[in-house]
Symmetry: none
Subunit: 402 residues, 2 copies
DNA sequence: TCAAAAGTGTTACCCTTACACCCATGG
DNA sequence: CCATGGGTGTAAGGGTAACACTTTTGA
């Protein structure tokens, strides 16, 4: 980076009032943490890590020392040129390890600036330490709490502490103390195969990948599952993001988890498929350069990842399911003609059906009702419109049994 | 080291004109480093790490991306919310690891401000990389040098690199790096519902939980998926651990991922079901105090987690599937009588079947062949033994169609 | 000779499938 | 009046389901 050390250079015009700060995790016996209760806003009355501003000419380490002196009234002392990682507490007759942990940027703070978290690792009797510290500047109270029983904390301090114990501390510690139960986890995503029927073709929505891997290739839309998000919620969210449609038929298909299916990292994907009627669609047919497009299932491009396999699996499922359930109705608008319904079945099954047999079967099933309206389209007799009476049920008899 | 914060220069009129910055160690194959030759003062003509200012509202990571784009003309891309420590280089078709190394304060800069050093760890052919980069803003030339043959460098960059290799990199080399785990991921497990038929009952294997949560309750056997382990492998591994049986029929059932289904943490479980013949069983009926036991599916206890739901789902699946596939054969020994086969169907479907119809249907299907042996059991006529001719196929006609 | 399970065919009926002609409309 | 798709019924055939008696064995 460019650091101007030419001091005669005129100063920059005032741009922003960035403030950097330090926060200190005072780690006592690798078990407890010292917290201070804030006297002033923001977060007055809440517990926090001791911390403070780094002055313009101050090093980070000196900022740490200042905080310890001001907030805790402890006579901390150091000689960083000799022992860069030691802090000596004169009142306690002890020395502590000082480690820089990580720098966080203040995502939402309009003042910008970064916060660097330090850890002061101290081995000492808890009571003795509590006796030595006295609440200082803007500190109401001082407390030592167990690391697994943290109170609600100001700013992102809970996260800082969590990161420290979870990821960063073990490296600083003896490597052998690394938490063995913290094993590596795969990522979990959902992919949604979105089917619709248009122009007498079964179509599926694909999106063009914008980045490596498989940049420029078409892929099934999907995304990662939030840590507290139910799988189906995640699928619905992705579906709505892509199509703007809510309340559609959505069903889990299969979970694909080959270790190398994503070259970035291990990603297990739970595939869902959705059926939406083309009249609900926001995204209509688009140009070839578009980022998302509908593809006829018999004119599919080569897809990214194992998406061809996933899509084939979805196709098989929908073809099976259409024969013994009423999912085909999901692909139709609210009012539809029997010919339209038949077309949906034909398109999904990929073969012609007999008109009279089809109508007989459909009418035997009580799930649809004729409306008083008809639909005029083209130069021929108008068609009777129908709608669904119920969502559940099947328009077919139960499967045969052994 | 000690940094003097009482500089001889007079204080600036503004309280702070702090500028934070990032510097990037582009670590190629853990051997070489990419350097840029500075076009402008200070240090014009000297080699340096690529770096630049962190804007007031910019995160540190985004500052890194900006530098790579501006100085090296590389199409770097990232999605920190998903892969917090990955950078994707579209031009290279490669991804790199991004790690925060350390924050240095600028001892000599009157404006204060800190420099955070990042490492971009990239595995790529040197020549290919050199071909892709082009000197950008304020960069005269780009070079890749061996880490042990560094030229004289601007600012404190030589020290940054030294610290990186000497102290900081080893921690980051640990595969369980901080950033990789920053994005919280759910755990992924497999559960296996193991069915068998014995004593004319459909039974399922359950294990008694030895620890919190649900200590002492019965649960479906399962375990976590290894980071490089295919899902089905994991299921097979668990299955073999519990039963000692290999090469059994195993099928994925459904993936359960409610956020609160495991009180410990978010765990998404991919459920499988297995059908094994009771003659293969190592684990025979055991006492009530045992850690694993077979339970008749109509005498199930209340299970841990959402395992009752999972089991119900498996039962539904097996009942459906038995009607249009030959999975029932998986529950029988190699040689079996037709009555035994019929019992399996009856037990799974939970109802009596007609003997003559059943046999007619089975014999129409070509998947079984009569043996020359018979089976004598009890005081009655001996029964003809059969075996499977093929594993695939169905003993039933295809399902009816619309 | 008796109990217990193995083994064997036929029929009625329902569901599936194949098939052809008239109707309503706009141009 | 004609092209176009909407709308309707029947009959043959195949699969399903209901049903009862003989055979073989050991006690």
């Amino acid at each position: 980076m460019e650091k101007k050390n030419n001091l005669s250079t005129p100063l920059q015009p005032y741009e922003s009032q960035i403030m950097n700060s330090v926060d200190i995790i005072i780690d006592i016996n690798n078990k407890d943490i010292m917290l201070v209760k804030r006297k002033k806003d923001p977060y007055a009355g809440l517990w926090a890590l001791p911390g403070g501003k780094q002055e313009a000419f101050e090093s980070l380490q000196n900022a740490v020392i200042s905080v310890i002196r001001q907030r805790l009234n402890l006579d901390a002392y150091c000689d960083f040129s000799v022992f860069p990682n030691k802090i000596i507490f004169n009142d306690l007759g002890k020395e502590a390890e000082l480690h820089q942990i990580r720098t966080y940027d203040s995502g939402t703070d309009p003042r910008g600036g970064n916060t660097t978290v330090f850890a002061v690792q101290l081995l000492i009797d808890k009571a003795k330490f509590l006796k030595a510290v006295k609440p200082g500047l803007n500190v109401d109270e001082i407390r030592i709490v167990n690391k697994s029983e943290l109170p609600r904390m100001a700013f992102d301090h809970a996260r800082f502490v969590e990161d420290y114990y979870k990821y960063l501390k073990p490296y600083r510690d003896n490597p052998k103390t690394f938490d063995a139960e913290k094993f590596e986890k795969p990522g979990v995503s959902v992919d949604i195969i979105i089917f619709t029927v248009r122009n007498n073709e079964l179509k599926v929505l694909l999106i063009k990948r914008k980045s490596w891997p498989f940049k420029g290739m078409w892929a099934i839309p999907g995304g990662f599952v939030g840590i507290k998000e139910p799988l189906e919620e995640a699928a619905k969210r992705e579906l709505e993001e892509e199509t703007g449609v809510k309340n559609v038929y959505l069903e889990q298909l299969y979970t694909f988890g080959e270790p190398d299916r994503d070259p970035r990292t291990r990603v297990i994907t739970v595939a869902y498929y959705a059926l939406i009627s083309s009249d609900h669609l926001k995204l209509q047919a688009t140009t070839d350069a578009a980022e998302a497009n509908w593809f006829s299932i018999d004119k599919l491009p080569k897809l990214a990842f194992d998406h061809n396999k996933i899509l084939a699996s979805a196709l098989e499922r929908i073809r099976n399911k259409v024969e013994y359930s009423n999912i085909a109705f999901q692909l139709l608008p609210e009012k539809f003609t029997l010919t339209e319904l038949q077309k949906v079945y034909e398109v999904i099954l990929g073969k012609k059906l007999d008109k009279r047999n089809f109508r007989k079967r459909v009418k035997e099933a009580i799930t649809i009702v004729p409306l008083k309206e008809t639909k005029m389209e083209g130069v021929h007799r108008p068609a009777q419109l129908f709608s669904f009476k119920e969502k559940g049920g099947t328009i077919l008899k139960p499967a045969k049994k052994i």
